[in-house]
């Protein structure tokens, strides 16, 4: 059972502003039946350009209904410019938080708001922009990048919780990781120190000696650095590792991960037969 806040439960059991505004100034439907949730948002402005009435219809789970109900309450009385600043975080915060796995419901709210405002401003219907990354749920690269940026996401699982991307067949996980890496690398590129090849090799050597070999030696294994060619780290396994069927996994998941974390994010570990 999901741990919903009292406010989520309250908005789910007594949703506010259900329905459609007649002759709306802004209207949009986002999501789809296949995806399991959809939201239709309509709003009308008063003579001062403030949102006088906002109504919703939702197909979806309890948190999708609560998020839409919250959204309509939040935007009433705001100017379109003010409403446009609302993020998915704001919607989740209004409800006292959402379970991580349900954050996509807040994103759906923000998307509907954005699309309805776009409709009001006479912008072209936001068709699917950019490259679709997740085929199962039709999520684009831009959408993923934006949610990663706005919510400071770090893992594929988090991206799935927020956008559903990667929650189907899983074929897009690599592409999602690339987007996370790219977005999280933004602004950091300049600060990354220039490292000469000699420094890099030295750091790799130190990291292997300090961080990796002691752990391997505990299990009767060992590792030897053979060479570094560009970003390729060539190593040979020794002791128990040399005969272990899982040593390939250890190299990728432990050695490579450690080196990427501590030395250089593009390093790739390869085993050579020696």
């Amino acid at each position: 059972m999901w741990e919903y806040t009292d406010k989520v439960k309250e908005h789910f059991l007594n949703p506010r502003n259900v329905g459609e505004v007649e002759n709306p100034d802004g209207a949009a439907t986002v999501g789809s039946l296949a995806c399991g949730d959809a939201l239709k948002l309509t709003f009308k402005l008063d003579e001062n350009g403030r949102i006088q009435d906002a109504r919703f219809k939702t197909f979806g789970c309890a948190s999708a209904i609560a998020a839409a109900s919250a959204l309509t309450e939040m935007i009433k009385g705001l100017t379109v410019e003010e409403a446009a600043k609302i993020t998915n975080r704001d919607i989740a915060n209004f409800l006292g938080g959402l379970p991580e796995e349900k954050m996509h419901c807040s994103v759906l709210g923000r998307e509907a708001l954005e699309a309805a405002i776009g409709h009001y401003r006479g912008e072209a219907v936001p068709t699917v922009e950019g490259k679709i990354v997740c085929e199962c749920f039709g999520v684009t690269e831009e959408e993923i990048a934006r949610v990663v940026r706005e919510n400071n996401l770090r893992t594929i699982e988090e991206v799935t919780n927020y956008t559903k991307a990667g929650g189907g067949c899983g074929g897009c996980h690599e592409a999602i990781q690339e987007i996370i890496d790219r977005v999280r690398g933004e602004g950091k590129v300049v600060t990354r120190p220039k490292v000469s090849n000699i420094q890099k090799i030295k750091m790799i050597e130190e990291t292997i000696d300090r961080e990796i070999r002691p752990a391997l030696q505990q299990d009767g294994g060992d590792l030897e650095l053979i060479d570094v060619v560009g970003n390729r780290v060539l190593v040979a396994t020794r002791g128990a590792c040399a005969s272990c069927a899982a040593s390939h996994l250890t190299l990728k998941q432990v050695v490579e991960a450690k080196l990427r974390e501590l030395v250089w994010p593009e390093l790739e570990v390869e085993e050579v037969a020696q």
């Binding site: 949703p15 399991g36 219809k57 209904i65 189907g168």
Partner: protein, 395 residues
């Protein structure tokens, strides 16, 4: 408020007489059945009795019963044993609609190098027997087909399938966790080699199960340890729960007729009334070859989690195959395998009854649910549009 519990395929209440029977084995008779002293020995006698009781409900001999910790352990043991005793064979045949205890296990075994064939089902959830027969090969180490589906209650012709496998010298296992205690099973009249039982699905506690292994079947244990279960499953016996499982099987055998008359009638009453009172809903799964206690109904254009939480307000307990309840983002793999359209799959609710349900409870659900569905449909952007489109297509 006492809950109206219609989620008995998830778990069941421990029968009061079962609870009473097992409790002394926590405090008064806590001896180890393997001990030499009388204090332990008397416990061993009760474990032997439980083994006879479990054997009896499926028409087996006591020595063919191995106690385990749950249905999942029984399933894992059976499949891994078949692979271990057939080292030259690396093909597994199963279905697309198995419980995760088999579904996830064979996915793991596929990663470990096994070839897995998952037999599809039709729109009613019935197994494609033609494709099944074709899938059997000299490389097949084991066939594992569930006896009855936990989500839809659809019953597979496992006895016929086992004969086909046997004719080709292939081991046959069935996950009968949902079937034992609900429908008659007699191992003397089939050639199934292994069969999984779970305690908590038939009014015994959680944490106990059994695996039937036909006499003469080569077997390789999953848990290696002491000599318990004749070396076929190491680990000190979960004595109170094993005793409980024994009595629960006895009671289930006695109440089999009730299950297939009274419970079935209540289920049918619920199902028919909901179908009659709520527009645009349908039953998922073959209504003929089905467990007497299970009904899986889809309510179009509404989402299952929302229905469950509204039912929860009335202390009505059921479950759903919707994406939002599973923790994954896709609706139940069983409904997807049956090709249930998305408009229906997300709004599926499973009601599973037991002998403890009353007609009054069922009447209350019949009175309550239509209003909930109507209310949620009023929220749904698809309801009016979808209803109109469907009416046009059908008209």
């Amino acid at each position: 408020m006492k809950p109206i519990y219609l989620d008995n395929n998830a778990t069941t209440q421990v029968a009061p007489e079962v609870l009473e029977d097992m409790l002394p084995y926590f405090h008064d008779f806590y001896g180890n059945p393997s001990s030499m002293h009388t204090f332990g020995g008397q416990v061993g006698r009760r474990v032997r009795q439980a083994r006879e009781q479990v054997a009896k409900i499926i028409g087996a001999s006591p020595e063919e019963i191995i106690f385990t910790s749950c249905g999942t352990e029984s399933d894992n043991t059976a499949v891994r044993s078949a692979l271990a005793t057939n080292p030259g064979k690396r093909h597994i045949v199963t279905t697309r609609v198995e419980h995760p205890a088999i579904h996830s296990l064979v996915a793991r075994l596929a990663q470990e190098g096994c070839r897995v064939t998952e037999i599809p089902v039709d729109a009613e959830g019935r197994l494609n027997m033609e494709q099944y027969a074709k899938s059997l090969s000299p490389d097949t180490a084991i066939v594992s087909l569930m006896w009855a589906n936990n989500e839809t209650g659809v019953i597979f012709p496992v006895e016929e399938a086992a004969t086909l496998a046997h004719n080709r010298g292939i081991l046959f296992h069935t996950d009968a966790v949902q079937a034992v205690g609900k429908i008659p099973i007699d191992m003397r009249h089939n050639c199934i080699d292994m069969l999984s039982i779970s305690g908590h699905k038939l009014h015994a506690p959680k944490g106990v199960g059994a695996l039937y292994v036909r006499k003469g079947t080569r077997f390789s244990p999953f848990l290696i340890g002491g000599h318990q279960e004749k070396g076929r499953r190491g680990g000190t016996e979960n004595v109170p729960s094993i005793i409980a499982l024994g009595l629960a099987c006895d009671l289930a055998a006695q109440k089999m007729t009730t299950e297939n008359t009274v419970v079935k009638e209540l289920r049918d009453k619920l199902e028919n009334a909901l179908l009659y009172n709520i527009p645009r809903c349908r039953v998922n799964g073959d209504r003929v070859n089905r467990l007497p206690n299970t009904s899986n109904i889809s309510f179009e254009f509404v989402e299952g989690e929302a229905i469950l939480l509204r039912l929860d307000e009335y202390a009505i307990c059921a479950s759903s195959g919707s994406a939002c309840t599973s923790g994954s983002l896709q609706p139940s793999h069983v409904l997807r395998a049956m090709g249930v359209p998305f408009t229906m799959a997300h709004g599926s609710i499973r009601f599973s009854l037991s002998i403890y349900n009353t007609e009054k409870e069922i009447d209350f659900v019949i009175d309550t649910l239509p209003g909930i569905i109507e209310n949620l449909r009023a929220l749904s952007p698809y309801w009016e549009v979808g209803d109109a489109i469907c009416a046009r297509v059908e008209g």
